[in-house]
Amino acid sequence: MKKLAASILGICSMVAYVHAQGSFIIDSSVNGGTGSGPGATTGGLVWLQSSVGGPTNLDTTTDINLGVLWGSSAATATTALNIDPLGLNTGAYASSGNWIASQATGQLDVTGYGSGALLDINGNQYFPPGQAAGTTIFLVLQGWTGNSATFAGATGASGQTAPFSIVLAANNSPVQPDVHTMGALVLTSSAVPEPSILALSGIGAAALMLVRRKK
């Protein structure tokens, strides 16, 4: 009986070993120098756009904040993944689970390679919960500039990739899937009217109403 129990336990442990937790890394260095543009659907780089419809420039000098969504399909890639598993962010960013450009998580994430490709300064592997090695998952990368801890709260330039798929690897494999199949990550500044323009518009409207009343 003891032997049977030990065998069952052993088989269970072997099954657990075979279905090792799947992981991936956040790196796109192979995309640097490929010449992919801001409309790339794969092999993408990070781009900054000063306004909607404005010029788009390859980002080589500005580190960005980064968040990752994942799911089992392109349509369900909406669950936030903690990409600060070591808890390196501090202060208001401590529980954000994102890379923050001003923190130990996001430093050099763009300026490291200086090619528009993403670098993980801490070189971690990331584990979507409950996903075994060999599983295909979909990712969405969200990038933004400024001081917000979250993509939703971004007030600077922001943008996200289209969903793209990767196949997770076993945790002890050095050959980890990276994010080089991402599309272009274009961070666009939303055009906000200058305060002086708003003020002038108000004065103009008031003057127009005054003229109409006099008539």
Binding site: K3, A6, S7, L9, G10, I11, S13, M14, S23, I25, S29, V30, P85, L86, L88, A104, Q107, L108, G112, Y113, G114, L119, D120, I121, N122, G123, N124, Q125, F127, N171, N172, P174, V175, Q176
Partner: protein, 219 residues
Amino acid sequence: MAVAAGLLSSQAQSNVYSANVVGYYNAPLTNNNAFTFFANQLDLDGSGTNNTVNTVIGTNLPLNSKILAWNTGSQSFQSITLLASGWTSGAAGPTVKAALQPGGGVFIQVPGANPTNVTVVGNVLQQTNKTPVIAGLQVVSYPFPISGGLTTNFNYIPNANNGASHDVGQTWNIGSQSYTTHNWLGTQWSAGDPQLPIGTCLFLKPWTANTWTNGFVVQ
């Protein structure tokens, strides 16, 4: 892979002799972003603890080369990258440094079309180790620049099998970029005793904690 060692100095005092042995070996690294399992088996200062990425590997590898070190706590790799400014550090730095001491090991990933090599220079440690090995995956190497089999030559005595539980070793096949798995069958390893050429390491996964006793002294 070549190893060369020279007797640098010896001091005689009465009947007590001590000898410092320094040497070097060349560790070939594969290319095209493929991975090589690498171990440092020479030491900077005889302490076995002060080797760094710059003293062992240096910065002559192609830009964007990576070093992956296994973190036994998180059971995952942490990596550093060679940039124009040098090796990154971040949270991975201490893990990589620990893995570059004799007895540890790392993966090295080199981009570009040209195979390269690392010339490791340092002191041959002369001591006896009782190295604790934990239950679970860890990267280990023989801490002295000698090639051989893990059990036959390097005296790793696997844990006795307990039903389906047994020690496992994983050596890295550079050509196929995959592991060869060695299971301890009670009296021998499947796929043979894991062979460790100079400058290489392996994944060891004892099913329960163990102690690896090994040593090296110049006679």
